[in-house]
């Protein structure tokens, strides 16, 4: 098994955190996992992208084609859509993206992550909603394990745990 993922957005949207939580869960499932972050020199507001590879044996941490690509903003779409697997899935944050993708792709899901986050009361949870949504395409990763990892991530701010677990569930059960 070899699964290549690419997540990208603007610094501060929590895309890296989302990726790291997914990696922790994939390791618990027994896979080899690499997380390669790419970011610019800006402290805030720059592009943040990560390549994640989940595999049975050692592979390149740099992906060839993303089977699942999660894009949070338009510039990320322009920059990385050429790395889409034509048989893969593109998940677009439709709260911020109006542009249509041009690269061939079997499945395009538009999900308004920020609108959904606002509905549950905190736009900062958009990344957890996205994580929940991505999991629909990753049957090898157990939802319950990810939920535990989310709880662990917010252990230092325990009052935020229920909100983020709700966000994860909101994404997981959303139908695009």
């Amino acid at each position: 098994m070899k699964l290549e993922l690419l997540f990208s957005g603007i610094g501060g949207q929590g895309v890296m955190r989302l990726g790291e939580i997914l990696c922790d869960a994939a390791i618990k499932a027994g896979y080899l996992v690499t997380f390669s972050p790419f970011y610019g020199q800006e402290k805030r507001g720059g592009r943040t992208m990560c390549n994640i590879v989940i595999s049975d044996e050692m592979e390149s941490p740099i992906i060839s084609e993303a089977q699942v690509m999660l894009i949070f903003d338009e510039r990320s779409l322009t920059e990385y859509e050429h790395l889409l697997d034509p048989a893969g899935t593109l998940i677009l944050n439709s709260s911020m993206i109006e542009k249509e993708p041009t690269a061939p792709c079997a499945q395009i899901d538009k999900v308004p992550f920020y609108d959904l986050a606002q509905k549950i009361g905190n736009t900062k949870t958009a990344n957890m909603i996205a994580l929940g949504y991505v999991l629909k395409y990753l049957p090898a990763i157990d939802y319950g394990v990810v939920e535990e990892e989310v709880k662990k991530t917010f252990a230092a701010k325990a009052k935020l745990i229920p909100l983020n677990v709700e966000a994860l569930h909101t994404g997981y059960t959303y139908r695009a």
């Binding site: 990696c23 690499t34 390669s36 972050p37 790419f38 592979e59 390149s60 740099i62 992906i63």
Partner: protein, 352 residues
């Protein structure tokens, strides 16, 4: 071995150095190496019982000279830096090799020349393997490809530096430094330097002759003899410390050659090429100096594709190692661009 964790290259490496008994870290922050001084600074505060000392120098020039002083006094000491900082340290590198001081330097490559960029690159291959500073000297240069190997070679670097009394350069890059992956952290090792007491300057000269660490010549006759002794040291390193891995060479028509974390992109490309029926193998030099010439013996007739994140530096060593240099082709990217496995596959197809 210690516990299994999901950890960033820089941080896992720093923890491994601490567990190798390197309690002194001199540094000046520079991306993409800054997590290493940060880690040392954090451990110095949070684990006071380990007696860690981190000092931020005013420049890398002073940092490298602090290391010279610390290792001359018998302590394990290191720094981690990147391109411009490594350049500033070169005068001290030449000095430490000549003075036979067992310094350990982590060079986390980023794209140059000059300030350049903060992404992944391998453009400091020449600087690391050809000495980098002035005069006839060599660094022992090791280039790991995974966070696991990075941690293991980090610990071994201290032993090697002390065994040969020579600087060891652990050559990382922005890709490996920032990469998070599963790693079994090496355990704590004997934290006293193993080598001869000779280098303990702080024990005083009671009952023994003074140790004179000097690199200043006294005429051509003496200085040639001094240099010949140095060359004997480098000859021993070259004889004993060649390291590499080979993959699928037995039936290969095309042999990829790549080092460091980028070699993993080539490993994936090799697998993809094999799935297409192309007989592709690979040589991965781990010691860049001494370069593993022996890995290329008996491979006459095969085509070699050298892949690097620079304009073609290791390719020169490959050409010196093969029977027919016309069999060697090169593919490289610059500026922080890292090709995907699929792009390397495209380069392999051109050789079919």
């Amino acid at each position: 071995m210690g516990e299994r964790v999901f950890m960033q290259g820089n941080e896992a490496m720093a923890e491994s150095a601490i567990r190798a008994g390197c309690k002194l870290f001199f540094g000046y922050p520079i991306t993409p190496s800054s997590e290493v001084p940060e880690y040392y600074a954090k451990v110095m505060r949070e684990r006071p019982e380990e007696n860690i000392m981190f000092i931020q120098g005013e420049t890398e020039t002073s940092v490298f000279n602090m290391i010279a002083g610390a290792v001359a006094a018998g302590h394990r000491a290191m720094t981690a830096t990147s391109g411009p900082g490594f350049s500033l340290g070169q005068e001290a590198m030449s000095y430490m090799s000549a003075a036979s001081l067992p310094a350990v330097i982590v060079e986390v490559m980023r794209p140059g020349p000059a300030d350049g960029e903060i992404l992944a690159a391998q453009g400091d291959y020449f600087q690391a393997t050809r000495g980098g500073g002035h005069g006839d000297y060599n660094n022992l240069v090791l280039a790991p490809y995974s966070v696991q190997e990075l941690c293991e070679l980090m610990q071994e670097s201290f032993d090697l530096a002390e065994k040969y009394h020579n600087p060891v350069v652990l050559l990382s890059d922005a890709m490996l430094a920032k990469l998070r992956e599963s790693v079994e952290l090496p355990g704590y090792v004997e934290n006293e330097p193993k080598p001869e007491e000779k280098w303990r300057t702080l024990t005083g000269a009671d009952g023994r002759d003074p140790h004179i660490i000097t690199t200043c010549g006294r005429g051509a006759i003496q200085w040639e003899r001094f240099n010949l002794d140095l060359q004997e040291k480098f000859r021993k390193i070259a004889e004993n410390e060649v390291r590499y891995e080979t993959y699928n060479l037995e039936d290969a028509d095309i042999v990829l050659v790549a080092f460091g974390c980028f070699s993993r992109v080539c490993i994936s490309a090799m697998k993809m090429a094999r799935e297409e029926g192309m007989k592709v193998g690979m040589i991965r030099p781990i010691s860049l100096w001494p370069f593993p010439e022996e890995a290329f013996r008996g491979l006459d007739g095969k085509k070699f594709l050298v892949c690097e994140l620079n304009a073609g530096q290791m390719v020169q060593d490959v050409k010196l190692s093969v029977d027919n240099k016309n069999d060697v082709t090169f593919y490289g990217r610059l500026g922080g661009q890292v090709p995907t496995p699929k792009e390397i596959l495209g380069e392999i197809r051109k050789l079919r």
